[in-house]
Symmetry: C2
Subunit: 339 residues, 2 copies
DNA sequence: TTGTATGCGTTATCAA
DNA sequence: TTGATAACGCATACAA
């Protein structure tokens, strides 16, 4: 049916071993150039295409990588995946994507499955990966890089946006618009972004001479619109006065829109809102969301380079890359009304 | 390092062949129950996990499927992929997703790659797949199902939304609002959806007693926002009067928003707009888009069932499934102003 | 019910 | 520079 190396060898009148060497760029120098040509020609004629499964069995390398994400349906992840794939494809790798729904059990199974399929490395973009699972991975020397998350306690490389810089830009922007009392919808404190952005918020407010008020911070359980809505409602119901809010991510910010609509408040005239991530489509919502742009495609691409690097040279010490982020001013922020 | 069947067999004091049979649910009845237990226990103790690569080489089945899509970054596709994955995962399959960017050459390479990796079947969601490539697939008896696309000339199963019903609902909705002159931004006529929706538009207009005017139809080269914008501008620059437009998909509809904003026209008071697909986030744009909801997750899930079916029973005659779609009325349509 | 032997397609080691 | 041979881990036809 489909041609094998054997067939090619026979057609070219050489031994399969020779054919193998001739077909492989890495070993072709071990064989006479004329023979190489002959084999290649025969291969082409027969439509030979190497069987990666057999190769993988022999070499223990599958030419494939894993990508563990919460949910491909979350618009944050497709660009990351795409950046990852584009880069690893250059090196001949395929990608197995797997959705965990942030469920630890699912995640454990998925990772086991990926390993069973002999992936040579993986990126992990789930916020909730069990430290234990991660530890196991590094203990087994599986090249893994964290995405959108850092893990200071483990020697694991990571790629993420620069949260501190992002919050700094957001705060500076609001300050320049005259806002003094700024609230923060903090992300889940089980996630490294949630923690980092809250910490940066506190830091930047004081650094930039604005007063940090604990009462203006609400912790959200999850990065979901509903949580953002509830959080802002809680703030609105409270006694504190504030004219702007920095949400830990865009979904939370969109939740603010919902809360405001319910109460007939208008954004940005009643309240300025800043998001984080610059998800696709937040430029299309009303009002277009002012947010921190994270270069997700680049995040995936950079993660890919690091994984590839570590496959080639497992001994390399893990590096953490912080990609620059930038404030995108759109319609959801405006000058504070003097009062 | 990692336990193999051999190790398990040795630990259980049986022959590897027996261990193999004991581990496999399909053959475990061929072996003494007590032995099965013993082998299983040893396997667990050793943390044995079968090597799918070796199995695949032996059985010619890879337990993996392919998904050929234009671009995971297009919000249309993640739900499809997710539906597909969720269903095939139940059957123990993995999914290899590949982006073609609607580039025929890329696509050819990707499909070849998928086949080299021994996928047992695939879904194809690219609009532009070469008939030739498709023909080759069916000739080689690769279980393939088309998604979001039908191919009447080939015996290939497909899953898609019911375009005719969608357009019918859109037209009925606009008619009920008093619109008489309705324009259509047609999708690329190289795609089956583009063709079907245009044909349905023409049909429904006359069926429902509205006049079909060729001058109110603009063909878009691609399903992109920019094309929708250009198309509406062309219409606006022309002499024809119209009060509503049905776009062949949501992106085109969003393009209409752009064109109108540029000209200080207001939607829906100046012009009602209906999209198609109900992409994520079109409920968040301004005004929220009235559109035809296509159950994309279900499309992927149904495609999965059909692929699985065909792997089990390759002889089955190909079926085409049209999933019901429904009009979602939001803010971009309103009553026609009497004039 | 279990053991034996062989082969899937490739690469790697060794010898020629 | 090439050939011979074995082996990767598993499944299966056949024998016992």
């Amino acid at each position: 049916m489909v041609a094998t190396l054997r067939d090619v060898a026979r057609a070219a009148g050489v031994h399969p071993g020779t054919a193998s060497r001739a077909m492989n760029p890495e070993t072709e120098q071990l064989v006479n150039h004329a023979t190489v040509m002959r084999v290649r020609k025969a291969a082409k004629a027969l439509g030979y295409v190497p069987n990666p499964v057999a190769r993988s069995l022999k070499t223990n390398r599958s030419q494939s990588l894993g990508a563990v994400i919460p949910d491909i349906t979350n618009p944050l992840f497709p660009p990351i995946i795409r950046g990852f794939e584009d880069v690893v494809a250059e090196a001949g790798y395929n990608v197995l994507v797997t959705n965990t729904d942030n469920d630890a059990i699912r995640e454990g199974r998925q990772i086991a499955e990926l390993r069973a399929r002999q992936v040579e490395g993986m990126i992990v973009a789930t916020a909730t990966i069990e430290d234990e699972a991660l530890r196991q991975l590094v203990a087994d020397h599986v090249p893994v890089v964290l995405v959108n998350r850092v893990e200071p306690n483990l020697a694991v490389p990571s790629v993420a946006g620069d949260d501190v810089s992002g919050i700094r830009q957001a705060v500076a922007h609001l300050k320049s618009l005259g806002h003094r009392r700024v609230a923060h919808l903090a992300g889940p404190q089980t996630t490294s972004t949630g923690i980092a952005r809250l910490r940066a918020f506190r830091q930047e407010l004081t650094d930039q001479g604005l007063e940090f008020d604990e009462a203006l911070v609400v912790l959200c359980d999850q990065y979901r619109e509903a949580d953002g809505k509830a959080a802002l409602e809680q703030l609105l119901d409270g006694p504190e006065v504030f004219s702007a809010v920095i949400a830990a991510n865009d979904l939370l910010a969109l939740g603010c829109y919902d809360a405001m609509k319910d109460r007939n408040l208008s954004c940005p005239s009643d309240l300025s809102v800043v998001g984080f991530n610059d998800m696709p489509f937040v430029d299309k919502v009303h009002p277009p969301l002012t947010t921190i742009h994270v270069p997700h495609y680049e995040v995936g691409a950079e993660a890919a380079r690091i994984v590839l690097e570590r496959i080639k040279d497992p001994g390399k010490s893990p590096i953490s890359v912080l990609l620059p982020v930038s404030l995108i001013v759109r319609g959801s922020t405006t000058a504070a009304t003097r009062s």
